[in-house]
């Protein structure tokens, strides 16, 4: 494997950090603030995209390391998995920025400077996590994501927002400090290194220390509350007090995907699939994931608040990725990685739609959505496409990921998980299809009301969600690039 020394990953991290600093310096001037955000987003995406060709050839891009003290090194390394995560997050940041501008202006939100600055900081941390070359760097950026998103969750500063913020911190910081840090300590003590390595860091000593490594693995999983595996999922619904762009980019893409990304990293690059299957750690995790998939879907059914329903749907969908990783077969991991992206595009569309409905129509409840599809046809069409992708119907991206995860379950000799995927698809259908039906065909009123989807501000809301819905569709027909990257990542 060739290694290329470059500062590009660092630039990708710094681009949004610089944007965040500039945003906070240009407080009070909206146009300037947004200009910095767009500039940061564009530069960041360009830097990340420029690394694609090299990664596609199987090379790894490496920055020089900064050693804090012996054994602790800050360093970035770009591989296919990290590139997918960072690329996805930075691309969606551009769209979310467009959407946010429309959203906060439409609603006249206060403290927009802090809002945009924290957004940029979060993206910086997400890129840092994606490119982390070792567990230490990953841990730092993982925590930074939590801290940077907390002001966004508590943005409204109401009692409810603050208490949501507190739950958010307690869950994310609490689990990562107590469990993940302990897991890192055990790993460092056992392996003498924290570097992510394809095939794992434990080498030959692995199989002999079942109890120790079992504890470390369990602590890693418990410490990654961002992946929202039950019983560490409650923070995600609580975080829905945040403004919708935050829920969209962070709680459908950056934050939660940081969780599953780290689980994939731990499976692939800390323990290695071979060691995990030898020790038999995959199956228990797979069952936990399966339980989360089904239980969260049932909970989603009972939510009337649209954002909460989407949040529980996210909990459920994230566990698909965990399930794919836990099955430890080549196809399932490929499917898991693909699902990371597929779910991101679909779920962000759904949140964008929910936000657009709120911003333009002030509706937050599922029961109020009767007939909304006739007034907001563009939004609800996009919503429908992505809801179908969640269910896993072709010709949409969700079908491909579920196909591979299912294939992986068979490969792993655990066809029972096919039933879980099937049951979950039914449940997804049960909580999404009524919304779609009600939106287009429900409600008695037929009077032609003027569509709220008009005017420049509304367009800022609608165009991003149409784009992401288009990508969800497009990923089914042209999955080549993403699948190739997933293939590279799954190979290690």
């Amino acid at each position: 494997m060739t290694e290329i020394i470059t500062f590009k990953p660092l630039f990708a991290v710094l681009a949004s950090l610089a944007a965040g600093i500039m945003v906070s310096l240009s407080g009070g001037r909206p146009a300037l603030r947004e200009a910095w955000t767009f500039a940061g987003a564009a530069v960041k995406f360009a830097v990340i995209a420029s690394m694609l060709p090299a990664v596609m050839t199987g090379a790894q891009l490496l920055t020089p390391g900064l050693t804090l003290f012996p054994g602790m090194e800050l360093r970035f390394r770009v591989d296919a998995l990290g590139l997918i995560f960072a690329g996805m997050a930075s691309f969606l940041w551009i769209l979310t920025s467009v959407y946010s501008v429309g959203y906060v202006r439409k609603l006249g939100e206060e403290k927009q400077t802090r809002f945009f600055a924290c957004f940029a900081l979060t993206l910086s941390a997400a890129a840092g996590l994606a490119f982390a070359a070792n567990l230490f760097t990953a841990f730092i950026f993982y925590e930074l994501i939590t801290l940077a998103t907390w002001p966004l969750v508590a943005h409204k500063e109401t009692k409810e927002a603050l208490s949501g913020g507190r739950i958010y911190l307690v869950y994310l910081l609490g689990t990562s400090v107590t469990f993940m840090l302990a897991a890192i300590l055990i790993s460092y003590n056992a392996a003498g290194t924290l570097d992510f390595r394809p095939g794992g860091i434990f080498g030959a000593m692995g199989p002999g220390h079942k109890v120790l490594l079992g504890a470390a693995f369990a602590l890693f999983i418990a410490g990654t509350a961002k992946a929202a595996i039950m019983p560490f999922h409650s923070w995600l619904p609580a975080a829905m007090v945040a403004p919708t762009p935050v829920s969209a980019l962070l709680h459908a893409v950056a934050v939660v995907k940081a969780g599953v990304f780290l689980i994939l990293k731990v499976v692939l690059h800390v323990f290695g699939t071979d060691l995990l299957s030898e020790l038999g750690f995959g199956l228990p995790l797979a069952w936990i994931a399966a339980f989360t998939i089904l239980a969260a879907s049932v909970m989603a059914l009972r939510q009337d608040n649209l954002k909460l329903r989407l949040a529980y749907s996210t909990v459920s969908q994230l566990s698909y990725v965990v399930l794919g990783a836990a099955l430890l077969s080549h196809s399932s991991i490929k499917g898991a990685i693909f699902h990371m992206a597929a779910h991101a595009f679909a779920k962000i569309t759904l949140f964008f739609s929910a936000g657009a409905i709120y911003a333009l129509e002030r509706k937050t409840k599922v029961s109020e959505l009767a007939g909304i599809g006739r007034r907001m046809p563009l939004t609800m069409t996009a919503f429908s496409i992505c809801a179908l992708s969640m269910i896993g119907t072709p010709p949409l991206a969700g079908f491909i990921s579920k196909w591979y995860i299912g294939l992986g379950a068979v490969e792993a000799g655990q066809p029972v998980f096919l039933a879980v995927i099937g049951a979950s698809a039914l449940l997804n259908a049960a909580y999404f299809l009524p919304i779609i039906y009600q939106a287009f065909w429900g409600g008695g009123e037929t009077a032609a009301v003027e569509s709220p989807e008009k005017g420049p501000l509304a367009m800022l809301l609608v165009i991003p969600l149409l784009l992401t819905a288009g990508i969800t569709l497009g990923l089914f027909f042209f999955p080549g690039l993403l699948l190739e990257l997933a293939e590279l990542a799954a190979k290690g």
């Binding site: 804090l68 602790m72 730092i140 925590e143 913020g165 911190l169 400090v177 107590t178 300590l185 460092y188």
Partner: protein, 493 residues
């Protein structure tokens, strides 16, 4: 001249301390200048000595030219050098902070005596660090303690007097225990020089005399360091002392106590001394763990900011003792690093609390609403120091707690690891109680008299907090120094 630096380091502040109260009124008016000059000179001396110590490995000074074990020896090893530097530095910071803070909390005619006591306190601490004679250690402990009682009594509320009195009673019991312990060791080994004791004691390790002496010394020093459950004097004392005193005491007083404890356990005794009848490691580690959790929970329950910080000290002292109790290379390094980190951070936090008290009159955690916007620098320093104390990655606190936890893992003490991590989390939670209203609440009724405190108060607070973050980023240097000191303590080459 340079060879007399060790003696000068103790004598200089001592002389200045004696000079100030006995000088005419005109000189008294510039008491602060004299004190600061003396502290600054001490810092320079300490820096020079630390440099020399790290170059040579050990600096030894024979008082009056008498060779040990007959004469009194001053000896400085890397650990002592680190502590000397730390004490001198924090004293400088606390004094420069006092210039604006002390007149706000004390009557003008008392100020010269106040500065004199501060110098006396540092002189005592420096002596504790520097001396190689165990009876000398006792004398310096008492010099520092007496100055400390007087400083606490200078608090603006009358409760400060009671806090000081209670501390005095407990402190004197502790000192008498220490004296008694020294007597037993002298009985058994016939010498008072620490290095000599180290050589002679192993032949009598099995006797009850040595065990008794050891027990008295450890219990006495535990009171001085406020190790749980002997911490009861600390919360009151830190709450009611003037804020520069709280900063100085929290940063250096307890730390030097811990240093004396480490000296007794690892220099006077060898790590091999592990009495089978009394499982020292288990007891100390157990108490330290209990202290970590108890201090954090009590801090969580407090509404007075200074009292919260005081209980936080109880918790953090637990961390330091824990590392010494685990006593492998990694944990010891963590312990020494935490001595440095906690000193810098807690000094900064107490200074910030003092600034807030002076500018807004706010003493309770609930009074800080919206202060993040009104006093941005103070709250930024407070937040940075709090983050470091909680052990957030990229701060100094993370480095020390990482070493401590890793040391516990290496020693196979699995039960200790969750305590370390949970304590860290609780630290974050109780500081959160202060930081959240400061940044995420609309402004309360308490308006600062002026937007920010005078630069003289603000600068040391900010500098110390910044240092805490900087030491986390450039952790290589302190980790190396602490690692070397730890290796020497544990008797490794």
């Amino acid at each position: 001249m340079t060879e007399h630096f060790p003696a000068l380091l103790v004598i200089l502040p001592l002389l200045a301390a004696v000079l100030i109260p006995f000088s005419p009124a005109a000189v008294k008016r510039s008491a602060w200048h004299i004190s600061f000059a003396s502290a600054a000179a001490s810092l320079a001396l300490a820096a020079r000595l630390a440099w020399e110590t790290f170059a040579l490995g050990k600096v030894s000074y024979w008082f009056g030219g008498w060779a040990p074990p007959w004469g009194i020896e001053y000896s400085i090893d890397p650990l002592g050098a680190l502590l000397l530097l730390l004490t001198a530095f924090v004293t400088c910071a606390a004094l420069s902070y006092s210039r604006a803070a002390a007149p706000a909390e004390l009557a003008a005619e008392r100020l010269p005596y106040f500065y004199s006591c501060m110098l006396l306190f540092t002189s005592g601490l420096t002596g504790i660090i520097i001396t190689g004679d165990i009876f000398n250690l006792y004398v310096f402990i008492e010099i520092a303690s007496l100055a400390g009682y007087a400083l606490i009594a200078a608090g603006r509320r009358r409760e400060a007097l009671v806090a000081s009195y209670n501390y005095l009673i407990l402190g004197t019991i502790a000192a008498t225990f220490i004296l008694l312990g020294i007597g037993y060791l002298y009985m058994a080994a016939g010498t008072l020089n620490m290095a000599d004791l180290r050589e002679r004691l192993p032949q009598v390790y099995h006797t009850k005399t040595v065990l008794t002496g050891f027990a008295f010394l450890v219990v006495g020093l535990s009171i001085k360091t406020a190790l749980f459950p002997l911490h009861i004097w600390l919360p009151d004392a830190y709450t009611h002392a003037p804020s520069p005193v709280s900063a100085l005491l929290a940063a250096t007083g307890t730390k030097v106590g811990i240093y004396a404890m480490i000296r007794v356990i690892f220099t006077v005794f060898k790590p091999e001394f592990n009495p089978s009848t009394v499982p020292m490691t288990v007891i100390l580690a157990g108490l330290a763990c209990a202290g970590i959790i108890y201090g954090a929970l009590m801090a969580l329950a407090q509404t007075n900011i200074k009292r919260l910080l005081a209980y936080s000290s109880v918790s953090q002292i637990g961390y330091i003792i824990l590392g010494a109790a685990i006593s492998n290379q990694t944990a010891m390094t963590g312990s020494l690093l935490h001595i440095i980190n906690h000193a810098l951070m807690k000094a900064s936090l107490f200074m910030c609390a003092g600034i807030i008290l002076m500018s807004t009159g706010a003493e309770k955690t609930g009074d800080l609403k919206g202060l993040g916007r009104r006093m941005p620098l103070t709250m930024a320093a407070f937040t940075a120091a709090a983050c470091s104390l909680a052990g957030l990655p990229l701060t100094a606190g993370f480095i020390s707690k990482w070493h401590l936890a890793l040391g516990a893992v290496e020693a196979g003490l699995w039960l200790v690891v969750p305590v370390i991590l949970a304590g860290s989390l609780l630290t974050a939670v109780y500081f959160w109680k202060i930081i959240e209203p400061a940044y995420f609440s609309p402004a309360g009724e308490r308006r600062p008299v002026r937007p920010e405190a005078p630069a003289g108060m603000l600068a040391p607070a900010v500098l110390l907090a910044a240092l805490g973050v900087a030491l986390g980023l450039a952790a290589h240097f302190p980790a190396l120094g602490a690692g070397r000191a730890a290796a020497l303590l544990l008797g490794k080459p």
